[in-house]
Symmetry: C2
């Protein structure tokens, strides 16, 4: 059975849990306590040298890290990844946007606020990350103001990737009320068949 090294509060882990569930793929979830350093033990680093969850383990030789790479792998050939080359390119574009412009600001801020105390070094970054996170939300809002989903007017892994930390952005100190298109999109994502909340293991 597929094994997923995961952390229940992680949006990156949630992306994979959500897609596996929507695809109807059975998997064993292994909780990794990041705060206790369990993703940096020698045993875990042998599985993922970058020391991060989520990590998908197909067997003792085949493991895949990076949440969005896992989504793309699992979605291939399914309704969650468009077949057309240009549409797939746009899915990739939004997924790289998510990891570069969205997650490091919104997810990181959420993680810090959820796990006090906040060090001096991190405290200095709270304000810049708030500004950059709102910029990313602004880009999403503008795009969604004329569309139901990010690509091809269909629910794809681009939506899953961006939903993971957007729908809990308030936990990172972001106010989503002005973002009406994002709010409507969150409801559309939530109403997809077999949707599960982030806290479901």
């Amino acid at each position: 059975m597929i094994r997923l090294y995961d952390s229940l509060s992680s949006g990156n882990g949630y992306k994979v849990r959500l897609l596996l569930t929507q695809l109807g793929i059975a998997f064993e979830r292994v909780e990794v306590d990041i705060l206790k350093g369990e993703s940096r033990t020698e045993a875990f680093l042998a599985k993922n040298p970058n020391g991060r969850i989520p990590l998908l383990e197909l067997n003792s030789d085949e493991r895949l890290a990076e949440s969005n790479a896992i989504l793309l792998y699992l979605a291939e050939g399914t309704r969650y990844l468009p077949k057309a080359r240009w549409q797939r390119a746009k899915v990739h574009e939004w997924m790289f946007f998510e990891q570069y412009s969205h997650e490091p600001n919104i997810a990181t801020r959420r993680f810090w606020l959820m796990h006090p105390p906040i060090s001096e070094e991190r405290r200095a970054q709270l304000e810049p990350k708030l500004r950059l996170g709102y910029e990313a939300l602004g880009v999403m809002e503008r795009h969604l103001s004329t569309r139901a989903f990010f690509v091809a007017d269909e629910y794809t892994v681009a939506d899953i990737a961006l939903y993971a930390y957007t729908h809990v952005a308030h936990e990172g100190g972001f106010d989503l009320h002005p973002f009406v298109a994002i709010q409507a999109w969150i409801e559309r994502v939530r109403s997809q068949p077999r949707h599960i909340p982030i806290t479901t293991g």
Copy 2:
């Protein structure tokens, strides 16, 4: 003709220039002066709402942002992207690693050092980014110690993505001398047919 909005000193832009050249695809390069705010003008934001280069423009309706999404789009069906599903997944994994764990530390530090003065806010991040950049280089070194290239023992877009800022990491204050496997890999990448240096427009 394909148009590439680009900045000559940008490693992210270089990735695309390099692959287009190796594929033998003619393109028009449009230099965007980031320091003068040219990627944040109303006209440019109409093309890429995220206000970044590189941006690939196929025509007035089709534009693609995010350097690694552009690489994947251009490489499809060519020798630079493996056909096998698992190998493609590993290419994606390394490309997301590059944008999340490598570029924000090594490229950002290089950009700041190349364009003084450095603000107080940024100065506080120089040390953490040095540490995280060396961590990313350590992950690469470990992987390359038993391999010629990142995936499938072939030169792929994963190598192009990681080469772009690794080979100029010294400009970000990183000492590559201890990383012997990375140094040997840099030479292998450099010796690929139709290779061009970063400063070539």
